[in-house]
């Protein structure tokens, strides 16, 4: 059973200043993920994206998928 969103109104109504929206997130998502894979603090370099990923379920799903895909398939060479 899914959790009731009304149980955490603070999260339900999260609207953090500095959230750049989905477009900037899409553009730099690969750079963000690459830093994470390198064990670096991606949120320090891209704070706006870190904020956005906390609040946007669509971009968070894409981020999680990209992190996994880059980890699994990122070492493929051209030939």
């Amino acid at each position: 059973m899914s959790p009731n969103p009304l149980d955490d109104l603070d999260a339900l109504l999260r609207a953090i200043p500095g959230d750049p929206g989905c477009s900037e997130g899409d553009g730099l998502l690969d750079a963000y993920v690459e830093l994470e894979l390198a064990g670096k603090d991606a949120a320090l370099t891209y704070p706006g994206i870190a904020i956005h990923l906390r609040s946007c379920p669509g971009c968070r799903t894409d981020h999680d998928g990209l992190l996994e895909a880059a980890r699994l398939f990122g070492t493929v060479e051209p030939d």
Partner: protein, 214 residues
């Protein structure tokens, strides 16, 4: 990307860019290899999103895989000059596959559910009405929120109720409303901010000013 910018790239990324250039003798092989990578990413990602896809298998699943990989490949080949080297080339390409999968999954779900009218996300669920046993302050807070939602503009109200309350996928809502994810997210963000302010104005400020928990 200029020759000067290329100096910071890793060896594999340089190899990809070189071989994908027009006129390179191994360009076709590199494109085939890239397509193979995109197919693998799409298969993996569509598997990860099975819950949203529903009962899709066989040729239908394969179609989604190849549509995603084909469209991602076209976009990548058309944007090679825009690769800035902020990530490995493969990570950059995986991003295009990911965005195509997102798009295809949303459209597939929408095509399946829309005709049967299953998009029941426009009304506040019963659970929104606090039960009699709920603490008085909690009851009043929820009633204040309910009233504030009713006062939102039509688009913000629809988007907020669909995504935040009823858990509808943002891409599905974007398709239903003839919009895109970024615009719908802006509606959602504004709705959340307005509701937070409205609750505070009614005497029910939340723990933090913006939801950061600080």
């Amino acid at each position: 990307m200029s020759t000067g910018q290329r100096t910071g790239l890793d060896r594999d990324s340089l190899g990809w860019l070189d071989e994908l250039c027009d006129g390179h003798p191994r360009r076709e092989q590199a494109i085939a290899r890239l397509h193979e990578l995109l197919v693998r990413v799409a298969v993996h990602e569509l598997g990860r999103r099975r819950a949203q896809l529903g009962a899709v298998s066989g040729p239908e699943f394969d179609d989604l895989v190849h549509q995603s990989a084909d469209d991602a490949l076209l976009k990548i080949l058309g944007k090679l000059d825009e690769f800035e080297g902020l990530s490995r080339f493969t990570t950059w390409t995986c991003k295009f596959a990911m965005l195509e999968v997102s798009n295809k999954v949303a459209r597939h779900t929408w095509n399946r559910q829309r005709p049967s009218g299953d998009l029941e996300w426009r009304s506040l669920p019963d659970t929104f009405t606090p039960p009699p046993g709920e603490q008085l302050e909690r009851r009043e807070q929820l009633l204040a929120l309910s009233a504030a939602i009713e006062e939102l503009g039509a688009r913000q109200r629809e988007v907020f109720v669909a995504i935040a309350i009823n858990g509808a996928p943002i891409d599905l809502v974007a398709l239903e409303l003839g919009s895109n994810r970024n615009a719908i997210y802006k509606n959602l963000f504004d709705a959340r901010r307005n509701l937070r302010r409205a609750l505070a104005a009614r005497g029910y400020p939340l723990l933090s000013e913006d939801g950061t928990g600080t």
